[in-house]
Symmetry: C2
Subunit: 145 residues, 2 copies
Amino acid sequence: MEETDRKILALLAQDGRMSFTDLGRATGLSTSAVHQRVKRLEQRRVIKGYGATVDYEQLGQPLTAFISIRPIDPSQPDDSPERLRGIGEIESCWSVAGEESYILKVRTATPAELENLLARVRAAANVSTRTTIVLTTFYENRTVS
Amino acid sequence: MEETDRKILALLAQDGRMSFTDLGRATGLSTSAVHQRVKRLEQRRVIKGYGATVDYEQLGQPLTAFISIRPIDPSQPDDSPERLRGIGEIESCWSVAGEESYILKVRTATPAELENLLARVRAAANVSTRTTIVLTTFYENRTVS
DNA sequence: TATGAAAGGTACTGATT
DNA sequence: AATCAGTACCTTTCATA
């Protein structure tokens, strides 16, 4: 991975709809050279995809929370991610080192819905949960240097 | 916010480069009607922006961690987000209810860089830290139903 | 891996209902 | 809030270096 590709990635991370023409202007390459590089980055899955960033507050899901989970029965095989996959409120799922096994990031409309979601998570994966409610999102998914 | 707009948002969240023509086909609207709706969603900041999702493992930042922080001197005014804004490794910053004040999500190349980053976070915001290292990212920033 | 040209598709605007 | 038509721009491919 070299400098031109990194520059293209940084630009596309910030504006995923930027045109190849503009990317070319910004990198000093022709439109088709940039086109070729972006397609290659997509094929290699360095670019995993493109998405619109949506305001969940305006969409009626203002409540964000982190749910840390640990298995109730550690002797059982742990396939929590598969068991939880069907729960639509879960935005992200990481396994982690530390006291808990997984961290989930979830969005709900109300505290009542979060409560209901917690019950579904516990039941689906046979886990205990520890919930941390987000008060303010200062920034999210910023491009890392 | 009504059904057609929600459908457009769901489609754009999944594929931020989808053309207005295809959005029209998917919603049963004309190209210009979709165009009008998307522009309005952008103006109202329901759509906050568009971004390429990048594979940080392939980009040489394979280590992801959560850093929970709490102020060392609670009598001081807490402006941690501003103090931390310049640290490029911080991808997300939330204030939270619970034992800690903030949660940061960070990306680094190596454990040594994470250690260095932790020192910078502590010094910049005068906080103590608790770090949870991510082992596997099962999914991230999935579209929430 | 780069360029430039050509073809077809898309974005955006304005007129209209 | 929708459609249609028109123009300018963009994406994509191909021949070429």
